[in-house]
Subunit: 128 residues, 3 copies
């Protein structure tokens, strides 16, 4: 069987759990070796990478335990081949230091360009 | 003219009316015989299939008349060839008995897989 | 390099700023001459074209300055080649006179048809 190629797009933090559940169910259904999955993260959704101090400074609710749980789920998915790609423009807009984000996340100059190129390569697009 | 192939993705109940209006306007524009339309339903959007008792038990607002109206619109669209496909994972998560959903709705193991396969077959993807 | 073809879909007014930032970042990244960008506007998002009087009559908050700013950004993008396409069904539903919308916006009978056709022509789909 050819590999199924899928790009998930997330730009709102509230959709993180849905994205991760969708990927998990998909991989359980088709088998990890039959799928090529990438998640492109832009807009406000990159705020998952804000650390405790940054969140406190910005006055936002410091929901560290939730973020940790989501980040742990992301890391487990990355270990079975799921790629996570963050938009540099979005990180800058959210004042997030690129050096502080997890190693399994790749940063690209513009998330939209990544989404366009992947679709041109035959990836399906899904916006959970 | 070749058939236009379209997959609509819905994962939030609040988008049901928009999805059904989009499909109706599209079919009016291109003609029912020139289009191949499928709706993949996952996430919380499958709750449209909750019956009165289930809704009461779960404590949610029992908006049966709204659901009935939407279900009637869906059934009419199914009669002109629109396919409705629900995700089994989502039905389980919402505690909805598969046997209780309308006959015109097909259930698949994972809605995301269906979306990926259809795009690979040349279906356009739309998230209303 | 071949032109990168992208269709942005907007159907909620709250997403306008995100759409325009996405397009600007994308064009800055790949260069205006290397991209073919179209924005299809349907659903409630066409309300950006409501004029002051219409907004007052309909009792909605008359946020003219915000709309003007967004419309100015749209016009600047149109001057570098970005195409804006509005859905006639949506304009009618929002009681917006087609003659009153900016000249750089093209009107089509059904926005969904435009989205389907463009994807069939190889455009990537993005829903910001």
């Amino acid at each position: 069987m050819n590999e199924l190629k899928v790009l998930f797009h997330i730009n709102e933090s509230s959709r993180w759990q849905m994205v991760l559940i969708n990927i998990t169910n998909f991989l359980n259904d088709v088998g990890q070796n039959n799928a090529n999955v990438e998640v492109v993260i832009n807009g406000e959704a990159v705020s998952i990478f804000k650390n405790k101090c940054q969140q406190a400074e910005s006055g936002s609710l410091c929901n560290v335990s939730t973020n940790l749980s989501l980040l742990e789920q992301m890391e487990k998915l990355s270990e079975v081949g799921v790629k996570f790609t963050a938009c540099r423009n979005a990180l800058k807009a959210q004042l997030i230091d690129e050096e502080s984000i997890p190693d399994f996340v790749r940063v690209v100059p513009a998330g939209i360009t990544e989404i366009v190129r992947k679709q041109a390569e035959g990836y399906a697009y899904i916006k959970p």
